[in-house]
């Protein structure tokens, strides 16, 4: 039943092994491809880039690494960068501007190897107006300094685009300017750690003499005064976030983990000052220093960031930054946020529609898969309405805008309450609950101690009361989650599983229901499976079909064209196309028609819109089926999830034509829902959660964005982790999808590690409290006990999660 062109593909790949690859990009070269001296290129674009680089003495690009160039035929955007002439746009991109010297920062996702760094950092040779360029490889950014009098932003972007490094420009890069403030908060934590480390180290050093007893008492006192001096920035700069958040939660009448932390800090500080100033003791300032320092390091560890991944993309990073707008009788490139109601804009082939509107001219083949999940393009003719977020697959169309970009249908969905509702973002509930009971317990013990000693000795009563508060300080409790789950995040990232924060790990351990989106998750939208069914085709028939299909812009025709390789094009006469139905023409003296069943058979009933019939000389030869193939090993993934007692469900925006296939794939108790709008998906997740389920939603894009956000854990499958991914909790690289269930196993065991850490904490607290309630907590006991407990828990957490990960990946290797 299958007639594919596998034979010719094989022939081609054998040929390329013996033949040459493109000098620029490494793609196989075919007969007749351009050459330059001895060098072969796969396309004219690659040759042009080579000529440009070699003319400027940048040949060394090719010697840094072999065949590293970016294929020009693939990355050609032919974009009109006219909108970059707008001074407001430059203002958004520039981070520094003085006397004509401008510094801009651009996202260049194509950066992938050391030769990219080399070329981009030598780009000043291509145009003297560019002063310098610095690449940040991990963030895939280039910061360029240029002279405004010699070159402008548009020329720079065009130059980059010409050599295959076109920067990513989307609406978000225009709107967003929070990058700078984000970096500032990151730096603040580093500064705080620096100060805490400085103070902690020095206080510890200056406390030695008093523990060893080698220095006279009046000297010790002077050293203690220096310690007080050092502890002020320690508490009020490095520790201020904890004090502020404790104050805020007191104000909101919520008892969290921050309150015992703040109580501990303040008690340590005040009692130390009292002891030193009243000459009754030496204080516990070194414990305070260690405490704050370890807390901050833990916080830093928790904020493990994936430099090139962003978890909070929204529709703006998906929309184009500019469109061609009709002004007078000419087209000018305009930034999308300047497009207004009533404007006429032009959308090119493969362009994303940024605003709602209706078609003025041209035929729309709009792929709404990003909005609805429906994989089949919709055919629209003049005066019909199109919605923002669709992708035009045919030729260019002209639209009259009815709603601005930020008021369209898709945009409205994104602005649903759920996206602005703070309660939808979950915090670490577990640790806060523990914190609550812990605080109550400690307050009771300390009050009990106070009451017990009050009648015996008031000095001891006061001392032991504060000692209980000091020693019970939940340092270990506060460190356990950052270090253990922080390390889990780091380890998982080696497997291509990127978690947003430690709270996600915590919620993962509780997931009992996994909901999959179909399009792009279960099925692979990138490759379209074309299957032929019918009378076997001769070589001539193939050429004829190829010729006819290549005349049409219809997405299904394009898919047929992509399926043929090395088929000669023939001459075509009498070409006709009936929009959305089919095409026909005379090729090699034969009458050929290609189209939907209603077009070919002249019936009203449509068998299936994803079927194309072929008719040559009035005889129906066969049909092509189009399907997004189901990802390989999907059934094993679902099976493994079921083994872990997780219920799996399916949500699909598509119609139910794949119901049978899906029924075979999913376990029998799964819910399979089709024809789901984005709102339906969101409501479904909501209803599951109301029933008490902890839901993980696995999806791919915008149309399930609401559901992703609504779920407890939103997972996005990323085809390519440098590119687009919407708001979610976990970004899963497609390569690790097959081993996806391991995530649950690993995380569940990590939870036991965490419980182990709590057992440690309890152990230390019992010892500490034993001393404290008796009024025997000397500074030296505190100085040993507190750092020892912190360090041992940190080491235990890091080592055991790392071991667990190793053990776990070996085990899974055996299984696979």
């Amino acid at each position: 039943m299958f007639v594919t062109t596998g034979e010719s593909i094989m022939k081609q790949s054998i040929d390329t092994d013996t033949k040459v690859s493109c000098y620029h990009c490494g793609e196989p070269c075919r007969e007749g491809d351009p050459t330059e001296g001895d060098l072969r290129f796969c396309c004219e674009g690659c040759r042009m880039v080579y000529l440009l680089l070699s003319a400027h003495g940048l040949d060394a690009y090719y010697s840094v690494e072999d065949m590293v160039g970016i294929n020009r035929s693939k990355s050609v955007s032919e974009e009109d960068f006219g909108f970059l002439d707008d001074p407001m746009v430059l203002h958004h991109f520039s981070s520094f501007r003085n006397e004509g010297i401008v510094k801009i920062s651009l996202d260049i996702p194509q950066i992938h190897c050391s030769a990219c760094i080399w070329l981009l950092e030598h780009i000043d040779r291509l145009n003297p107006g560019i002063r310098s360029c610095r690449v940040n490889f991990l963030k895939k950014k280039a910061s360029i300094v240029f002279d405004e009098s010699q070159i402008n932003l548009r020329s720079i972007v065009e130059l980059l685009d010409r050599i295959g490094y076109g920067p990513r420009l989307n609406l978000k890069s225009l709107v967003q300017s929070k990058d700078a403030s984000e970096r500032l908060t990151d730096k603040k934590l580093i500064y705080q750690i620096g100060v805490a480390g400085f103070c902690f180290g020095n206080i510890m050093l200056l406390s030695f003499p008093e523990y060893l007893g080698v220095v006279r008492a009046d000297w010790v006192r002077i050293l203690s005064y220096i310690n007080i001096f050092l502890s002020i920035p320690l508490l009020f700069y490095s520790g201020r976030d904890y004090l502020i958040s404790a104050y805020k939660s007191l104000y909101a009448r919520v008892i969290g983990i921050d309150i015992p932390i703040a109580i501990g800090m303040l008690t340590l500080f005040l009692r130390s000052i009292y002891e030193i100033l009243s000459h009754t003791g030496d204080g516990y300032l070194d414990s305070l220093g260690g405490f704050i320092f370890f807390l901050l390091v833990g916080r830093w560890f928790q904020q493990y960031t994936f430099q090139h991944i962003s978890f909070d993309h929204d529709y703006r990073s998906f929309f184009p930054i500019a469109v061609a707008k009709l002004e007078g009788d000419s087209w000018t490139s305009t930034a999308v946020d300047k497009v207004q109601q009533g404007d006429v804009i032009r959308i090119k082939h493969q362009g994303v529609i940024p605003c709602d509107g209706y078609i003025e001219d041209g035929v729309g083949y709009v792929d709404y898969s990003f909005v609805t999940g429906e994989s089949r393009p919709v055919t629209l003719s003049t005066d019909q309405e199109v919605y923002a977020g669709g992708k035009q697959c045919g030729g260019a169309i002209q639209l009259r805008v009815t709603k601005e970009a930020d008021r369209g249908y898709l945009t409205q969905l994104w602005q649903e309450e759920i996206f602005g509702d703070p309660s939808a973002t979950h915090t670490s509930v577990f640790i806060n609950q523990i914190g609550k009971y812990f605080t109550l317990f400690i307050l009771l013990v300390s009050l009990g101690t106070l009451i017990y000693w009050w009648s015996i000795d008031r000095d001891i009563a006061f001392q032991s009361f504060t000692a209980v508060l000091i020693v019970a300080c939940p340092c270990v409790l506060a460190l356990a989650i950052p270090f253990i789950y922080g390390n889990v995040i780091r380890l998982l990232s080696h497997d291509g599983i990127y978690c947003k924060n430690t709270a996600v790990i915590e919620r993962l351990t509780e997931v009992d229901r996994v909901v999959f989106d179909k399009t792009g998750t279960i099925t692979d939208t990138r490759s379209s499976d074309v299957q032929y069914e019918g009378t076997p085709l001769s070589e001539e028939d193939k050429s004829i079909i190829f010729t006819l299909a290549s005349q049409s812009y219809h997405p299904l025709s394009r898919a047929i064209v992509d399926n043929f390789h090395e088929t000669p094009l023939l001459r075509i006469d009498n070409f006709k196309e009936e929009v959305g139905r089919g095409t026909g023409g005379m090729i090699a003296g034969r009458e050929v028609r290609l189209g939907s069943s209603s077009f070919i058979l002249d019936t009203d009933t449509e068998i299936d819109q994803t079927t194309v019939l072929i008719e040559i000389d009035g005889r129906v030869l066969g049909r092509y089926h189009f399907d997004n193939p189901i990802r390989p090993n999907m059934s094993s993934i679902l099976g493994k999830l079921a083994d872990r007692n997780l219920r799996v469900d399916l949500l699909s925006g598509d119609n139910a034509h794949e119901l049978e296939q899906m029924e075979a794939l999913f376990p029998s108790d799964s819910e399979l829902l089709f024809n789901q709008s984005p709102q339906d998906k969101l409501n479904y997740i909501q209803s599951l959660r109301e029933q008490g389920a902890i839901v993980m939603m696995v999806g791919d894009g915008l149309n399930d964005a609401g559901a992703l956000k609504q779920s407890d854990v939103g997972v996005v499958i990323a085809q390519d982790d440098q590119f687009f991914s919407p708001a979610c909790d976990i970004i899963l690289s497609i390569n690790s999808f097959a081993e996806f269930d391991r995530l649950f196993g690993f995380v569940n065991r990590a939870r036991w590690v965490l419980y182990g850490a709590f057992a440690f904490a309890a152990f230390y607290n019992v010892i500490g409290l034993w001393f404290a309630v008796q009024g025997k907590l000397s500074p030296i006991v505190a100085a040993i006990l507190m750092p020892a407990s912190s360090i041992s828990v940190i080491l235990y957490g890091l080592l055991s999660t790392t071991l667990l990960y190793k053990f776990y990946s070996v085990k899974s290797g055996d299984r696979a």
Binding site: S114, W118, E121, F198, W219
Partner: protein, 60 residues
């Protein structure tokens, strides 16, 4: 013993200097990219063709 006090003050002063240096290093973004410089330093100084002047290398 007075000399100890002096030494402590001097050492605190020096340590403070390092703290300031650390602030400066963070502030100028030296910890923001810890990968690219390791690649950059391995690039060979290539032979410059006649028509490209080495002046254009010198940047601000």
């Amino acid at each position: 013993m007075k000399i100890i006090l002096l030494l402590i003050l001097v050492s605190l002063f020096i340590a403070g200097g390092f703290l300031v240096a650390f602030f400066w290093a963070v502030g100028t973004g030296q910890y923001e990219d810890d990968y690219t410089p390791s690649v950059r330093m391995l690039f060979d100084d290539e032979v410059v063709n006649d028509h490209t002047t080495s002046e254009s290398h010198i940047s601000t």
